[in-house]
Amino acid sequence: MREQLVVDRIRCDGHGLCAELLPEVIALDDWGYPIIKSGSIAPALLEHARQAVDACPVLALKLALVTAM
């Protein structure tokens, strides 16, 4: 089990702060909405991922424990 970034797509307004804080994992599409590039977060990036979660102005980004299916 590893932590994974999950976007609430209805809440997300495409502010784009998450991609600035975590470019290793998050890219933006042509309209500024996040594309999560990799599923689970490497331990070295976990702190940056938490900052990205905290920075989201509409609380659309979450770190969730995801069980491998």
């Binding site: 976007v7 797509r9 209805i10 997300c12 307004d13 495409g14 599409d29 042509d30 309209w31 909405y33």
Partner: protein, 404 residues
């Protein structure tokens, strides 16, 4: 063996409760207990489009139900090319009700909702009349709710949202309806044809047939019941044959995909056989595109519709499908911007999994199939030309046309 549409002709309208009981006998209520296992063994998959195994879905609800679950029979047939759900409700309402009652007994539900598209007038009237015929047995645990128009209103979280709050837009998941649905209770959302098929399985049937809707370049369009091991060629023959030479088939409707006719013609339509080749049966739509029709234009019309049907809640769906629609229209009109084909190819790979529901996944899946099957047409349209015209020799249907 009993089938979904065996019995009186469809033109005779709704089968009465008396006639239904005469053909099928009483509801095998005792079968409900063992039905989940038998559905799993039958490999019946849902007929609403997503193709999820019916038995597994029922078990997921039963595991959480505690006798307080809800059955939501989904008869909101938003797919523009599909007519089979409204047909089964209008002609065989008691088979649908049988399935819903068995589902309620099997999963532990005390509330059954028939969610019927507002524009399916005959289906809604038949369902209401059939429920009234069985009012004494149902003792008030079943009702009809009119589903608003729109492609997304039939999506399962949207259906639950509409019943709970009058808002037919999808919600963020999890929780999924089987976890928390109508009134916060575990809810089985099941397509009406799937429920009718489950009612046959409860009576010993093998779920070996499916309803399909035929359209396009075929002589007799409309709803049919086919054996799942039938090939596309046999299905076309049963519909009077192809009306014109055909290049491709839209399989599974607007959330399905284009398939080159030669890829599918001699193959059985059984879901497992299609899956092995990367295709999906979906909701059973088969629409034949004539050789002299343009796939780029046909796809532009579909993408335009799907973009218009976005619930407009999620940015990637709203803006992404909007941009794809605009580029597809320019390509179809042979007035493409320099990078239109490159951009729709990239966007077609970027939107899946980025909406609250699967609307962007379905739309881009259809687009990607078009970019593959009509690759030459797209390349020509990007250069401002269309290559469609005289039919190529050797295509299925070419002979039929020569003879006719």
């Amino acid at each position: 063996m009993a089938r979904l549409l065996s019995g009186p002709p469809l033109t005779a309208g709704a089968e009465s409760y008396g006639a239904h009981q005469q053909r099928f006998g009483a509801l095998p209520a005792a079968a409900a207990r063992s039905l989940i296992g038998r559905l799993e063994a039958s490999h019946l998959i849902g007929r609403g489009g997503a193709g999820f195994p019916v038995g597994r879905k029922w078990r997921a609800v039963a595991d959480r139900a505690n006798g307080k679950a809800v059955v939501l029979a989904n008869g909101a047939e938003g797919e523009p090319l599909s007519l089979k759900d409204r047909t089964v409700m209008a002609a065989r309402p008691h088979l649908v009700i049988d399935g819903a009652v068995l589902a309620a007994d099997a999963v532990g539900a005390d509330d059954i909702i028939f969610y019927v598209g507002a524009e399916h007038r005959a289906a809604e009237a038949a369902m209401r009349y059939a429920l009234a015929e069985r009012a004494a047995d149902l003792r008030g645990r079943a009702r009809v709710v009119q589903a608003p128009r729109g492609y997304v209103a039939g999506e399962e979280s949207a259906a639950v949202h509409f019943i709970n709050a009058g808002d037919p837009r999808p919600t963020t998941t999890p929780p999924r309806p089987f976890e928390r649905g109508v009134g916060g209770r575990p809810t089985l959302v099941q397509n009406v044809e799937s429920l009718a098929a489950a009612a046959l399985v409860a009576r010993g049937d093998d779920a070996g047939t499916s309803l399909i809707t035929l359209s396009g370049a075929v002589r007799r369009a409309g709803v049919r019941e086919i054996a799942l091991d039938a090939t596309l060629a046999e299905v076309a023959a049963s519909a009077g044959g192809l009306a014109r030479p055909v290049q491709a088939v839209l399989l599974g409707g607007y959330f399905g995909g284009w398939v080159d006719i030669t890829d599918l013609w001699a193959r059985p339509l059984a879901p497992a056989s299609l899956r092995a080749r990367g295709h999906a049966f979906g909701c059973g739509v088969l629409s034949f595109l004539a050789e002299d029709s343009c796939g780029v234009e046909a796809t532009a019309r579909i993408m335009g519709y799907l973009a218009s049907q976005s619930a407009r809640q999620c940015g990637p769906c709203l803006f992404g499908l909007g941009a794809i629609d605009a580029a597809c229209r320019r390509l179809a009109a042979r007035s493409a911007q320099p990078d239109d084909l490159k951009r729709i190819t990239r966007w077609g790979g970027e939107l899946a999994g980025r909406g609250a529901c699967k609307h962007p996944d379905g739309a881009t899946g259809l687009l990607r199939s078009a970019l593959g099957v009509f690759a030459d047409d797209y390349a020509a349209h990007q250069r401002g030309r269309c290559v469609r015209g005289a039919p190529a020799a050797g295509r299925p249907g070419a002979l039929a046309q020569a003879v006719a």
